[in-house]
Amino acid sequence: MVNGYLAETLQEALAIRARENVVPYSGGTDLMIEPDEEATYLFIHKIPELKTINEDPEYLRIGAACTFTELLEDARVPGILKDAVAQIAAPAIRNLGTVGGNICNGSPKADSALILFATDAKLRLASTRGERTIPISEFYLGRKKTALQPDELLIEILMSNTGLSNYYYKKVGARNALAISRVSFAGILQVEGGKIINCMTAFGAISDVIIRHKEIDALLVGKTLDEAKTVKKVYLGAYDQAIAPIKGRISAEYRKTVCMNLLRDFLETNGI
């Protein structure tokens, strides 16, 4: 027997969330493998506001309860996110699993979250007390720990509308389907008028949270590709210092090597 509420509007869902200790349940693909008989679930997969994808001048606004399949089928979703989502699990899970669930599960191995880190996406959180929009990097506090308050729901993901077309993405899983990331890397390099105007990278599955070092990436910003070559060594050296994968089933050494190989390849394929 499962206890729960099936919310039909966001307002209703937030009211229940404010009133009671409930577990938000969207696609359920992470929750259903460890069912908790004591828990009360708040089913949010039918709330229209959470199921839409909208565009405004600045952002692509993705409803948190959009499934991976829905993202893949929407022409406005950027290629970097689609590449990652297409490699999540298998069709049945992609048909159910949602981007919001992937984020709120709090795992550093979440494949869509990696892309949102690498693109400096923002999250819109709501409660009956009001709303707030925060960078995704502030949402992740630690392993399985997020900034989501007990009365809040993640309702929307805001991705930049521009500057994401030149990307690099690689997921290293144990096989070609139904594989949890062992290492994942995403990078974006925006070059305009011969100069790097933005560099964003993120590393997944190697630490308690996804790794994003803006200060290191800033080393390349404002430089031409040739100038970037002169700081390449410093840049890679800084990441070599910064990346210290935690030990897991797969050795830290292996994951470190893959991270550095992919980072170097990201630069080299961009002519740096």
Binding site: A90, K170, V172, A174, R175, N176, A177, L178, A179, I180, V183, R249, I250, S251, Y254, T257, V258, N261, L262, D265
Partner: protein
Amino acid sequence: MEKISQSTKKKDHEEKISGRALYVDDHVMEDMLHGRLLRSVKAKARLVDIILPDLPSGYFVVDKNDVTGVNRVHIVLDDTPVYAEDTVEYVGEPILMVVGPEMKEVERILNAIVVVYEEQEPILDMRAAETVFFHYNYAKGDIETAFKEADRVFVETFQTGYQEQAYLETQGIIAYPHNGRMTVRGSMQCPYYVHGAIAKALGCKNQDVQVVQDVTGGGFGGKEAFPSILACQVAVAAQKANKPVKVIFERREDMEFTSKRHPSISTYKVAVKSGEITAMDIEVLFNSGAYTTLSPVVLQRGLICASGVYRIENLRVTGRAVKTNTVPTGAYRGFGAPQTFFAVEMMMDHIATALGVDSLELKERCMVKQGDATSTSGKYHFHVPLPEMVARIDQLADYRAKRKNYQHQTGRYRKGIGLSIFFHGCGFTGSGERDIIKAVAKLRKNADDTVEVLASNTDIGQGLKTTFCKIVADTLGIPYEQVLIENPDTDRVPDSGPTVASRSLMTVGGLLQRAAVRLKQEWKSGEVQVIEERFVEPDFVIPFNLKEFRGDAYPTYSWSVNAIEVEVDILTATTKILGAWGIFDVGVPIDLNIIQGQMQGGLLQGIGYASMEQMDYNDQGIIRNNSFSDYIIPTAVDVPHLVTEILNNPYTHGPYGAKGAGELPLVGAAPAYVEAVENALSVSIHKIPFTPEDTMRVLQEANQ
């Protein structure tokens, strides 16, 4: 294609596809209790004390003191306790079972039990083992002279790891006492193995035990001996409670504590003179785990295959299966052969590289042919179709050209192709079929002229119900629908032996064909008739003598050549499989769809064994890869280009020309895969699974 090979709708198709098929966990009996095992958390310890909480009414604790017969599970040597006695020998060894009406309460009681251990130093590494469970030797020719006269001597050591069967349905048994008898039903390959084990553990007469196989969701060897152990534990519990008791393993429990493939270490010393291999001196070590279970027979098959498909005039093979304080290993598709075939194929490859020839060229020069002696001085009595198989695989995979092109690559993605040549000995090893199994099978013609197959062999997904019925229907010349078959029930079927060793169709199918021939001759419409057939060893067989390890270990062999093509990404050290090709001679296929399913599944399972299926214990003897997220098996998208072809090579003594099929496709995948990785990276590899972490290590070594 022969007429019999044309595919038929499987006998169990409707019930499985509609979801009506009942597996053991689907059965709920009145007053049924649920059981769960309390297992040792120490790899080696003396049990000092077991402190039980107060038990609520209706709940029982079942242990060694409740075993009314012998506290040993009958397998081969009968050393596995039903429940632990004074010591525990591996992490996970069952100490007792808690049974009761509510699983939650059973779990609460389990958690409240305190076991006081006096820890002892466990032996986990097979190289450090002190107890040798089994030791066999055999030799032929003059090995000393061959090594003395050799131009070059090569010595290499190869390692293989665990492999978990990962059947879809976990182990499960229900036992219930009634009218002075004990009935046991569940997921199993070998009802009569379970039957014999229960009679011994309960100390009752054989006729007081009934064993019924339920629809079984895969076995791959994992349900050969293990269900005997679980069935004894559950039957003892049911006897004590005097109620039905059901035990179904959870996935983690199943992965961690049931038998899996023996890890191995094999050392090959090979003499070469004038570019030809003149002698092999082979030492094989298998990790048996804490108890013997099926290790003697697994080791025997491994040793028989140690020299591969090659004519080695001077040969010495010695093998040991040793005790460690780890989970007992056992049967898994291939049964000892995948370990030594990996070693010998890699050894041939490495010698070829050292001699400056391609491995296939060296292999082709030494391949056996009809009339040649086997490793154990038996004889390959029938046509060996390896040359045409090699030719066909070269045609399909473009093997030789690719192999040459892929040498010395640079760049991020590097391709490689590898090839393996191997056999699988059909049926029981040695004289087991003649001396131990003595199979009996029956046909019963009912008054309505339907014919029922009565045999103890189980359909575990391999399609045996279908193939048995096809043979009988075709031989009798009656419609397939007129032939019936049920899951075996020992009250109704004779002991036609276990469902193992790629024997069921060849051996028992042969008995059914003979029975059908007789029934056809004696057919009396409207009357009940029962025809029985018994196993007779074919005349041509050179009797196998286990003591001397000499003679025909198998009446015939199934043959295969595999090629696998890979692409290694040197940045991530991951390997993509571009193609896998297998040519298989299983005699005449009794159903082409079924055979294709077997060949594809087995080849994929072998690729998993070679590449990603990694399982190991830590320094406490605990296996940590106990779930499907930590123990990775390949999926269909991991080998999108999988080509399996059948070569028709009828076996004169098999039904419709059929011989062993089930195990063959797993046996040679690993060496083909690893040879491909070697080809891509220009390195020598000595172990499986060869994982991305291993690949990264060799890439880094090559860089230094």
